[in-house]
Symmetry: C2
Subunit: 315 residues, 2 copies
């Protein structure tokens, strides 16, 4: 339903240099996780999911805007196995078509029933600022050597989790839900989002190339201070800590010897299991928020199943 | 009043790396032309200018967002005699703090009376897309050698004039004006904006360094296809056209010999006078739109005076 709705949209316009990258990005098949969560939340709370399509797609456009701008900052050539806008066109076009998508996201969010359009917009503005803050923390962490585990969680909360919380809340707003239910689905999204990002970090490190479609170890190659790395630093002996920090100040780029050495240190301190446990904890906590929602249990199954699907995903 | 209102705003937040560039940009003293036009339009049409401050400042934040992103694309070190965000920090910070300002602009536009907040937002979305389109045309023109005079006018209409039209319309919306008056102030802004941009092109070429604060000839150094250049191409003999095109394919950068040669060709075809006449025509046309507005002539004096001030400005 979401894919059909997105396919029906006309993202082209003039000048074509500005709009072709938007059409290119929006026509890529992804999980459409954000609009899906919005619709499931709306349905669970008794709303009309048809009405929720436009604000749900606003969030999807917003999410894709962040990817286009992030790819400029990371100078990333590939995403979803396809060329990034930054690489296929250039950084100026990625900058400007990204801006255009951000504006389009607000335009979609606005084109909803007047009864709640301002509340939807207000939520989108709030979360959009937080996502920018999260990205800035992520950039700051690149040059800091004293990032704490709590700071990392706060960064992924802002960069990834709040948008999941907000789309669930937007679904609740469209359904006309009360404040307590809005808060509960939001909190569900926050914990689910943190679990999702920790899982992404685990996949990046230990994912199966045949399933995942890309070689594991990208974060290690990029010296990315993920939860795995920060946890290893916390647990490692002084010597291993020094070794690990040494590897993470090497020039970026794949290096089999470095990757194996880092994975060895991770293994020595059982970091994979520890992070998996923490991820599972966030996943389990997310489900507890669903308990607070004032609809029959069977109505909650859609969100439980979706969380379960994410938890058991292999890519 | 606008300056006081802007000074009272708190643009800081965490992480400071994200918000300091916004505070830096918004605290710079400019003409504040966009919020001024919004307030004057609102006042002329009998509205409460206090109510218009927030949407007027939304437009000012939006305008400053466009400058920050344009400066990345132009790799510009200076603006208003001060370091650009791009140069003072870096392009990633300029990209992300610019995004944050665009979101802030929508947040300000939203925080207005519910009676018209959606109409204000809708206008801001529409004009924001057009400004992006204008910027993309401007980028496209850099690598095209067949830009027409009409295309140039359409580019500056989108890049500069529509925002002036929209702030005037937003003032009218806040004042509760009728559709005809909204259209008239918008059209006034379009013609005034085109006149303003043509005047800027003239200043860039012929401005007094002592008054203007910067050496004239920046556009010539940058091979910028301004109206002056395009008009000269239209009028020049085949030989002079070839000469002029040759100069505008030289590597960018100041070159006294090139500048003098280009100015000589402009002078030979009386381009300065011709463009000044066209600029004056747009200015005069802008005033004609004021005639259609349904308020007593003396109420229109504020906008006439402001247009007159812009027309007679020396920088």
């Amino acid at each position: 339903m979401i894919s059909q709705f997105i396919e029906k949209q006309d993202f082209m316009g003039t000048p074509s240099e500005l709009y072709a990258p938007i059409d290119y990005t929006m026509s890529q098949k992804g999980k459409r996780m954000r609009p899906t969560l919005a619709l499931l939340s709306c349905e669970m709370l008794g709303g009309d999911i048809q009405e929720c399509l436009t604000p749900a797609v606003a969030a999807e456009i917003f999410h894709n805007f962040t990817l286009i701008h992030d790819d400029i900052m990371d100078e990333a050539p590939l995403r979803r196995g396809l060329e990034t806008v930054y690489h296929k066109w250039n950084s100026n076009i990625a900058l400007l078509s990204g801006d255009t998508m951000l504006i389009k996201a607000f335009q979609y969010a606005m084109n909803t029933d007047k009864a709640y359009s301002l509340e939807v917009l207000s939520e989108l503005c709030k979360v959009a600022l937080e996502v920018c803050e999260g990205q800035q923390y992520d950039l700051n962490f690149e040059t800091r050597d004293d990032v704490t585990l709590d700071e990392y969680i706060e960064m992924i909360r802002l960069k990834t989790a709040v948008l999941l919380g907000s789309v669930l809340k937007i679904g609740a707003i469209v359904a006309g839900a009360g404040e307590a239910d809005k808060k509960a689905v939001y909190d569900f999204g926050i914990d689910l989002g943190i679990a999702f990002q920790l899982q992404d970090d685990l996949f990046d490190c230990y994912g199966d190339v045949k399933v995942f479609g890309k070689m594991p170890g990208g974060d290690i190659a990029d010296n990315k201070k993920t939860y795995l790395y920060l946890k290893a630093l916390e647990l490692a002996s002084a010597d291993d800590k020094k070794l690990l920090e040494g590897y993470f100040t090497m020039p970026k780029g794949r290096d089999d010897k470095k990757q194996q050495a880092v994975l060895d240190i991770f293994a020595k301190y059982d970091v994979r299991r520890i992070v998996t446990d923490i991820m599972t904890k966030y996943y389990e906590n997310s489900l507890k928020h669903l308990d607070k929602i004032g609809v029959p249990e069977e109505k909650k199954a859609v969100l439980r199943n979706y969380a379960d699907y994410l938890y058991n995903r292999v890519k």
